[in-house]
C-alpha cells in the first residue's frame, strides 16, 4: 500500500534526522547537568559541520572528518567553559557569542575555501545481511549510516555515565549544589570544564552528522537553528538522556513529515500551505515545552557561576 510505504519512509527519515538532535542535546545535557547552559550549540554545530566537511572534501577520509568535528567542537567547548566558568560571564550571553562566532566563522571559512556548495561522498548507508532486506522494518531500522547508530548508542552510554559512575555523581552534585560538591573536595571548575567540552565535542559531531552523513554538503547556516532546538530538547527531556532521545525523535518526526508533505498531500488528496509545514517543528517546540513540566532533575545551579564564598 502506498500509505505503508510513506509511513516507513517517514519513520526511517525521522530516525535519520534525529541524529544531530541526539548528539547535540546529549552533549548539552552533560553541560546543563553540571550547571552550565551553553546556548552556543548551534554555532559549534556549524563549525563542526564545516570542519568535517572540509576534511572530507580535501582528503575523502570520513574518520578524519569526524575527528576534525570532535576537535573543533571540543575547542569551542573549552572557550565556552573558559568564558562561563573561569571568567564567570553571564552564560546566556556568552552562549549567544559562541553561536555568532560559529555562524560567522563557518561562513567565512567556507567562502574562503570551497565557496560553492559542492556535494561530497559522505557516510554510506550500511547494508546488514538479512536485516536490511526485511520488509518495512529493514527500511526503518537497518539501512542507515554509521553515525545514526553511534548517536542512538550514546543514549544508554550517557545515561550510564550520569547515573552509575563517580564522574556522573560529581556532575549531578555540581549542578545541584556546587557548594556541597566543593566542600566534599570536588573541583567544580574541573567538572564543568569537562562537561562543557564533552558537550562541545558532541555538538561538533552533530554538525558532522549533517555535513558528512545526512546531507553530504555544506552551505551557509547549514543547521538552520537545530542547535537551539537541541537546547530546548534538554529541557523537554528533563535532563534525562532517554527522554531527550524521545524529544529528538518527536521533532525529527515532525521534520520528516514536513519533508514529505508533498507526498503525503498527494496520497491523501489534501493541500497544506508550505509555510505551515516549515513552521511546524518550531510550533511543536513551543507547545511541548509548555507542557513539559517534569522538573525533578532540574539542576538548581543551572546558569549560576560558582565562586567559593569569601564572606
Amino acid at each position: 500500500m502506498i500509505t505503508d510505504i510513506i509511513k516507513a519512509s517517514v519513520a526511517a527519515s525521522a530516525i535519520r534526522l534525529a541524529t544531530p538532535y541526539i548528539f547535540a542535546s546529549l552533549g548539552e545535557t552533560f553541560g546543563q547537568r553540571s550547571g552550565v547552559l551553553n546556548l552556543g550549540v548551534d554555532g559549534i554545530m556549524l563549525l563542526g559541520a564545516f570542519a568535517a566537511y572540509y576534511a572530507v572534501f580535501e582528503t575523502g577520509n570520513l574518520l578524519l572528518g569526524v575527528l576534525a568535528a570532535l576537535i573543533v567542537g571540543m575547542l569551542l567547548g573549552l572557550a565556552m567553559a573558559f568564558i562561563s566558568v573561569t571568567l564567570q560571564a553571564e552564560q546566556g550571553i556568552s552562549g549567544i557569542g559562541v553561536y555568532l562566532f560559529g555562524l560567522g566563522l563557518s561562513e567565512l571559512l567556507f567562502q574562503k575555501t570551497v565557496s560553492t556548495p559542492t556535494p561530497i561522498e559522505g557516510f554510506p548507508r550500511i547494508n546488514f545481511p538479512v536485516l536490511t532486506d526485511l520488509p518495512v522494518l529493514g527500511e526503518i531500522f537497518f539501512h542507515h549510516n554509521l553515525l545514526v547508530y553511534v548517536a542512538f548508542a550514546l543514549v544508554p552510554i550517557s545515561s550510564f555515565i550520569l547515573n552509575r559512575t563517580t564522574f556522573g555523581l560529581q556532575i549531578r552534585a555540581v549542578g545541584q549544589n556546587p557548594e556541597a560538591a566543593d566542600a566534599m573536595g570536588i573541583s567544580v571548575a574541573r567538572v564543568r570544564y569537562m562537561t562543557v567540552m564533552i558537550g562541545g565535542a558532541l555538538a561538533g559531531l552533530a554538525g558532522a552528522s549533517l555535513s558528512i552523513a545526512l546531507l553530504n554538503i555544506f552551505q551557509s547556516n547549514l543547521t538552520a537553528g537545530q542547535g537551539f532546538i537541541a537546547v530546548a530538547l534538554v529541557y523537554f527531556g528533563a535532563w534525562r538522556p532517554y527522554w531527550v532521545m524521545g524529544g529528538a525523535l518527536l521533532f525529527s518526526t515532525v521534520n520528516a513529515l514536513q519533508l514529505q508533505v508533498k507526498t503525503i498531500e498527494n496520497a491523501l488528496g489534501i493541500n497544506v500551505p508550505s509555510e505551515f509545514a516549515v513552521m511546524a517543528p518550531y510550533v511543536v517546540t513551543i507547545i511541548t515545552l509548555i507542557f513539559a513540566s517534569k522538573r525533578v532533575e532540574q539542576p538548581t545551579a543551572l546558569t549560576k557561576p560558582f565562586e567559593r564564598g569569601e564572606s
Binding site: 552509575r164 559512575t165 563517580t166 564522574f167 556522573g168 555523581l169 560529581q170 549531578r172 552534585a173 545541584q176 549544589n177 557548594e179 556541597a180 560538591a181 566543593d182 566542600a183 566534599m184 573536595g185 570536588i186 525533578v296 532533575e297 538548581t300 567559593r308 569569601e310
Partner: protein
C-alpha cells in the same frame, strides 16, 4: 585508646592547635591573632556574634580560607591545609550551618560524593550503604542510605552530615551552629551523639551563639568579638551573664520584664484559612487565629511548617484557597499588600534581603519604599520630596541606632542587624495597628536583637497587635503572651506564656498533639 584509634577505625587527633591566626578581608580584619586549640575527648565551644570571626577561623582550619599569618598544628606537627580535601585527609571534618548535601541525591550518594570508589570509575553505592549502616549502628544514627535527601527532616539531614564526616574519617569535627534548625528533642539527640563521640576520643568544636547550649555541652569556651579572642574559660566557671557581656562588649539584658496587659479588642482574625505552598501542596491548613490589641502572639514551629505561608497570607503576598481574614472587622481576604498597609498592617518579612529591602537601593530609598508616593515624601504623588525623605530617614537612623555611613549608602553594605533595624523603622513609622514580625532577629547579632525586642515590647505597650513568628524558641518564650505551635501547616496547640514549657512545645513542634 591504646592505639589511638577511634571506633570508626580512623586515627585520633590528640591535639589541634591554631596559633596567632590572622585573616583579612578587603577592609576588615576578620580574625586578629587568635589562638585556639582542642583535644581528643573534649568539646571546645566557640562563641561570638555574627561577624565575630568564628566561621572564618573554622573555615581556615577546614581549608576553605587561607590565613595571612599564624600556624595550625596537629599533634604538635605544623600542617598546611590548602583545601577541604586536605583537611579531610588530616582527619578534620566540618558540619556546615547550611548543610552541604545535594537534595536530589540519596544519602549514600551524598556520602559517596568526592570519595574514591572501590570500583574505579564506577559507583560502589552498595559498599557505601553497608558502611553507612555499620556507622549508624555504632552511634545510633538511624538513617536509610537509599532515601533521597529532600525527603528527610532537617534533623535527619544533619545526621547524614555527621555520618558522612565519620565515614570520611573525621577525628576532629567542627560543628557550625548545629542546633540552629533543630527542635529541642532533636537537640537532645544531637547532644547525646556528640557526648558519645567525645567519649570515643573525637575532638569537637562547637560553634554557637546560644549560651545555654554552650554551657550544657562544652568543656571549654572561647569567645570571639570583632575577630579578637576576648575570653577563654572552662565551662564550669562560666555564667550566661559574663558570656553575653563578653560577646557583645557590654552588659546585656537576657530576660525581659513582660508586664501583664489586658488585651484589647481583636484586631486580626483568621477563620479557617488555607493556602497552597510553593511546592503546590497545602501549605496552610484551616488556620484560625485571633490577635488582640496589646498582645504578642508567638508562632513556634520547625522551619517549613507553614509559618512562611501564614505570614504571607496575612500580608497579602500569597492568596488563600479558602477561609477569611479580618482586619479590624474589614474583610481583607486576598487583598493586595498595599491594601493591607492601608488597613494598618505592617510586615517584617522573613526573607529580609528579597522581600524586605531592595539590595542595591540606598538606605533612604528603602526607607520610603511603601510611602514614596505619599505625603510627606512626594508632591502630588508624582515628584519625590528629597528634603523630607532625607530628614525623616536621618531621624529614623538616629532613633533606631542604625549604623550606616549615610542615608545614601546602598543598603546591601549594612550588616544584617542594621538592615533589620531599618525595616523595623520603616514598618513602625506607619504606626501599625497590626504587626507581623517574621523571624525578626534571624541572623541578627545579640545587641541588635535586644534592641528589636525592646521595640516590639514598646509596640505592645502602645496597643499594637503583634504576631511574632520565630524558629528561635527562646525568643518566642521571652516575648509572647500566648504561643501557638504550627506543624505541617496547621496550628496543633496553644499555650499561655506562663504555662509554656520547652519540652511540651518541642513535642508539639515535632507533630504530637499534646492536650493543653
Amino acid at each position: 585508646m591504646p592505639e589511638h584509634l577511634l571506633p570508626t577505625g580512623h586515627r585520633r587527633i590528640d591535639q589541634m592547635r591554631m596559633q596567632g591566626i590572622v585573616k583579612k578581608f578587603p577592609g576588615v580584619l576578620a580574625v586578629d591573632h587568635v589562638d585556639f586549640d582542642v583535644k581528643a575527648g573534649e568539646i571546645h565551644a566557640l562563641l561570638g556574634e555574627n561577624g565575630a570571626g568564628k566561621s572564618t577561623l573554622m573555615k581556615i582550619l577546614y581549608g576553605l580560607y587561607h590565613q595571612e599569618e599564624g600556624q595550625v598544628f596537629l599533634n604538635d606537627l605544623p600542617v598546611v591545609i590548602r583545601s577541604p580535601n586536605q583537611a579531610i585527609q588530616h582527619g578534620i571534618g566540618m558540619i556546615h550551618q547550611h548543610f552541604m548535601l545535594v537534595p536530589s541525591l540519596t544519602v549514600a550518594q551524598n556520602v559517596a560524593l568526592g570519595m574514591k570508589s572501590s570500583r574505579g570509575f564506577l559507583l560502589d553505592i552498595d559498599m557505601v550503604s553497608k558502611r553507612i549502616r555499620e556507622l549508624s549502628e555504632i552511634y545510633g544514627l538511624q538513617v536509610n542510605p537509599s532515601t533521597p535527601i529532600w525527603q528527610l527532616a532537617v534533623g535527619e539531614q544533619q545526621r547524614v552530615e555527621i555520618l558522612r564526616a565519620l565515614y570520611r574519617g573525621a577525628a576532629l569535627l567542627i560543628l557550625d551552629e548545629p542546633t540552629a534548625v533543630l527542635t529541642p528533642q532533636e537537640v537532645d539527640d544531637l547532644f547525646r551523639i556528640l557526648k558519645q563521640m567525645t567519649a570515643d576520643g573525637h575532638a569537637l568544636i562547637f560553634i554557637s551563639h546560644k549560651l545555654h547550649e554552650v554551657l550544657a555541652i562544652s568543656q571549654r569556651i572561647t569567645v570571639l568579638r570583632d575577630g579578637k579572642q576576648v575570653y577563654s574559660i572552662p565551662t564550669e566557671t562560666a555564667t550566661k551573664e559574663t558570656l553575653a557581656h563578653m560577646m557583645v562588649g557590654r552588659p546585656v539584658v537576657l530576660h525581659y520584664d513582660l508586664r501583664p496587659i489586658e488585651p484589647g479588642p481583636a484586631r486580626l482574625r483568621l477563620e479557617e484559612v488555607s493556602a497552597t505552598s510553593d511546592r503546590g501542596d497545602e501549605g496552610l491548613k484551616k488556620v484560625s487565629l485571633q490577635l488582640h490589641a496589646g498582645e504578642i502572639v508567638g508562632v513556634a514551629g520547625v522551619s517549613g511548617n507553614g509559618q512562611r505561608e501564614l505570614a504571607q497570607v496575612i500580608a497579602g503576598m500569597r492568596s488563600t484557597s479558602s477561609g477569611k481574614i479580618w482586619l479590624d472587622n474589614h474583610d481583607v481576604t486576598n487583598h493586595s499588600p498595599a491594601a493591607m498597609n492601608q488597613h494598618g498592617l505592617s510586615h517584617i518579612p522573613e526573607a529580609r534581603m528579597t522581600d524586605g529591602v531592595i539590595k542595591n537601593f540606598t538606605v533612604a530609598e528603602n526607607f520610603v519604599l511603601q510611602n514614596h508616593g505619599r505625603k510627606p515624601y512626594a508632591w502630588g504623588g508624582v515628584f519625590m520630596n528629597f528634603r523630607n525623605i532625607t530628614r525623616q530617614c536621618k531621624t529614623a537612623i538616629k532613633d533606631y541606632e542604625i549604623k550606616t555611613p549615610s542615608h545614601e549608602t546602598p543598603i546591601k553594605s549594612l550588616s544584617g542587624g542594621n538592615i533589620q533595624k531599618l525595616v523595623l523603622a520603616r514598618e513602625l513609622s506607619r504606626q501599625p495597628r497590626v504587626l507581623i514580625a517574621a523571624q525578626p532577629t534571624r541572623g541578627v547579632d545579640i545587641g541588635a536583637s535586644e534592641y528589636i525586642h525592646h521595640r516590639l515590647l514598646e509596640e505592645r505597650t502602645k496597643g499594637t497587635a503583634i504576631l511574632l513568628i520565630s524558629e528561635d524558641l527562646d525568643e518566642i518564650l521571652a516575648l509572647s503572651d500566648r504561643i501557638v505551635v504550627m506543624y505541617e501547616g496547621a496550628i496543633v496547640g496553644e499555650v499561655k506564656r506562663d504555662q509554656a514549657d520547652i519540652r511540651t512545645l518541642g513535642l508539639m513542634m515535632a507533630g504530637s498533639k499534646v492536650p493543653v
